[in-house]
Amino acid sequence: MQLGGLILLTSCAYLGILFAIAYWGDKRADAGRSIIANPYIYALSMAVYATSWTFYGSVGRAAASGVGFLPIYLGPTLMAALFWLVLRKMIRISKANRITSIADFIAARYGKSALLGGLVTLIAVIGVIPYIALQLKAVSSSFLILWQYPEILMPNQGQALGPLQDTALYVALLLALFTIVFGTRHLDATERHEGMVAAIAFESLVKLLAFLAVGIFVTFGLYHGFADLFAQAARLPDIDRLLTLGGPAGTYGSWASLIFLSMLSILFLPRQFQISVVENVNENHLAKAIWLFPLYLLAINVFVLPITFAGLMQFPAGTVDADAFVLTLPMAHSQEALALLVFVGGLSAATGMVIVETIALSTMICNDLVMPLLLRWKAFGLAQRHDLSGLLLGIRRGAILLLMLLGYLYYRAAGEAYALVSIGLVSFAAVAQFAPAMLGGMYWKQGTRAGALSGLSLGFLLWAYTLLLPAFAKSGWLPLSFIEQGPLAIAWLKPLALFGLTGLDEIGHSLFWSLLGNLGAYVGVSLFGRQSSREHAQALLFVDAFKVAGRGSSLWRGSASVSEVIALVGRFLGPARAAEAFAGYAAQLGLASSAELVPDADLVHFAEQQLAGAIGTASARVMLASVVQEEPLGMDEVLGILDEASQVLAYSRRLEQQSHELEAATGELRAANARLQELDRLKDDFISTVTHELRTPLTSIRAFSEILNDNPELEPAQRARFIAIIVKESERLTRMINQVLDLAKLESGRAEWHSAALDLTEVIEDAVATTSQLLQEQGVQLSLDLPAQVPPVLADRDRLLQVLLNLISNAAKFCARQAGRIDIAVQVLPEALQVAVRDNGDGIDLADQQTIFEKFRQVGDNLTEKPQGTGLGLPISRQIIEHFGGRLWVQSARGQGATFSFTLPLGAPTPAAERFSGRETENRA
């Protein structure tokens, strides 16, 4: 009996060592020198897959079904080959979205649905509790067996003992305490527990060494190696049955279904998700784990069959439970130290599983079950509380204790009905229900929330009906007739042969129906339903995790205040931690402090990620919505989602727009071309007109020159007259050429302008003085009507003079032959000066009043009357006046003379003048 004290001491010492390792790991992590940041620790911690079910249960299962224990380890080996594809994507997605559990993962994928998260949590808890019960059973029986040493007696647990004498209860409470102490010491936004991982890796090492030690002791100590052991075992009855697969179809079928089941479990057991996804430090560590983890499984299974056969040979049939061979073989051969090591190995296998599983489940319960309910429960007033980090920790600790007690209850009630391995498989089948929603969510964009909900519900119900209820029936909670005759004696509803399906084992049967219902409902409902825009956005984030840089904030519109957001995060993480996080975020953006942050979509996204780590994605969204005024997505945003369809749509819209632009450009080009052609035609007209006009004076010059040349004896008077004509025509020709050049300059904008403020009356007086000789010759009278004082105008003096001279000489040309008279009047208008030059000639027809401003148009018939001018004076004058921002026009009627008027804007230059004066400075420069 003194061994009892030793066992307790050893157990406590072992737990103490674990705690020390965890504490050290956390300290190192805080100091930034992580001890778990290497692939070996990662692979070892993944071996939390091997629980006491492996440690004790493999031998038990091997005793019953021979090599039938292996599929549970072959499946994970096969899945390891797919880790690089599947698990890496899960890690990438979870890191990008701060996902901390499977419930969170599924909830986040389907539009951050709290309902879905709650359902997943419920399934996980119900599914995994038997598994926790299994660990309690393993620890307490191994303790009781060792306690009897040197006798080897199977403990008769349960009924005889009250709860207070039951070791399992103390084991449960001790493990709960232990988990609480180092699983929930503080709240972390990433929900990572470095110390725990270090301890788990250590435990994996311990259980492997312990099992190998027993295996080596049995194989090489009790026997002479494998061959000897197997040779002796050949004498056992039924040995052939254990070393071959039984009846063909059934056994191959169950073999395959077990491999498939364990493939799914390695991904979807909550503790595996916690260790391989949430606690992953660097996704490259996964590479080495791909072969290290299967290697570990191989190592821990090599000696299972030898130990089984040794046990079967050593102990008379029925005296010792095969589940206990690992422990009883060393005991039977008085290897106290080895037995103690085995006990510690079994303890580490159980504690490792319990710790990680309860932490993972407590996170799920807190984030996806309790928090969403509290958030909706107005009376609880969660939204008003200041610091919620304490509450969160409290919920988690409570959840851990609750899980352990539920496990204990299950163990008390049902523990004896099943061998260890069957309980484990029931849990495996439960978590396999996550596969369609998880894998579908990662690779299929169309999967909807409704599809996931219906698939999970249906799969879970079928699982419960075909596995859980029969387990209850076998434990005596339900009448056995439920299994044997079906409920209400309806044969086709028999839970172990649903719809009459037989020929599969229990697990295969349940797996078939539950996954069929699950997958069918998931795919069917998804295909015939519609996704909301948020579901769609999340689907893209998950499915395209390797393409998208992993940010979901582009689909968010709304407004928030930075201080409110920080305060909100502070209530869950603690104010100091929140301040630290936001200061870090601000530093990342290159800002001096968090006070300078802008409340944009990115900030809210960051806050949501921080919160998601602490309370889950679904709750985080609800909480943030309380301080953030979210605006619904507009049609444009939805269209902007980078969906393949809408991408194509956007692309074709862009194409359409481009072709519109192209059409517009073509139209413009066509118009420009037409204008160019018109200009070309005008130029041709102009040139032909100019040459025609030039020919007229040239012809007369040539004709008179020839006369003079041919008739040297011409009279001097005649001769003088002809020479005068030649001179006059030459002058006209020169003037015409000058004017054509002038006009060309004006039209091309290359004319030089020297604008200055002018007194218009002075310019008019100058013009009158210049023309006085001409007027006197023609006997024309001129009268001026000028105000004493006129405001200055901005104009080029020479050009203005040119206009006035042109108008006056025109007037002189066309005024009455006798008593010709010209009146020049200046009027001051509000914004301009108006100059009118009036003659008393024949006047101009209305029809001609516009044409006279065209080039080379003169009033009168060019053919019969000798042209009086060049036909360019008025067009040039109009161009000049318009250049100054004024206007030139004529008023006349037949027989009543004509009045040519122009205006010049006053004072400050008009925009047009300004523009030109701008060019003027350029020209000067």
Partner: protein, 66 residues
């Protein structure tokens, strides 16, 4: 990271090899009570195939690391 997709393809091929090794037709070949070096054939086959798979995975991972 171009060798990442190649690595993934090699691993998928190994996965399929594993499925083949551990399922019906091939498994039936070794499902007898013969012995190799005194070790039951099925037991030997399963562990040998398992070990082979692990070695191949190790080669795929470690060689593409270089």
């Amino acid at each position: 990271m171009a060798n990442h997709t190649l690595r993934a393809q090699r691993l998928v091929a190994l996965f399929m090899l594993g499925c083949l090794l551990f399922s019906y037709p091939l498994l039936a070949l070794f499902d007898s009570d013969d012995r190799v070096f005194g070790i039951p054939l099925l037991f030997a086959y399963l562990f040998a195939a398992w070990a082979l798979l692990i070695v191949l995975m190790m080669l795929v991972i470690e060689r593409s690391n270089r």
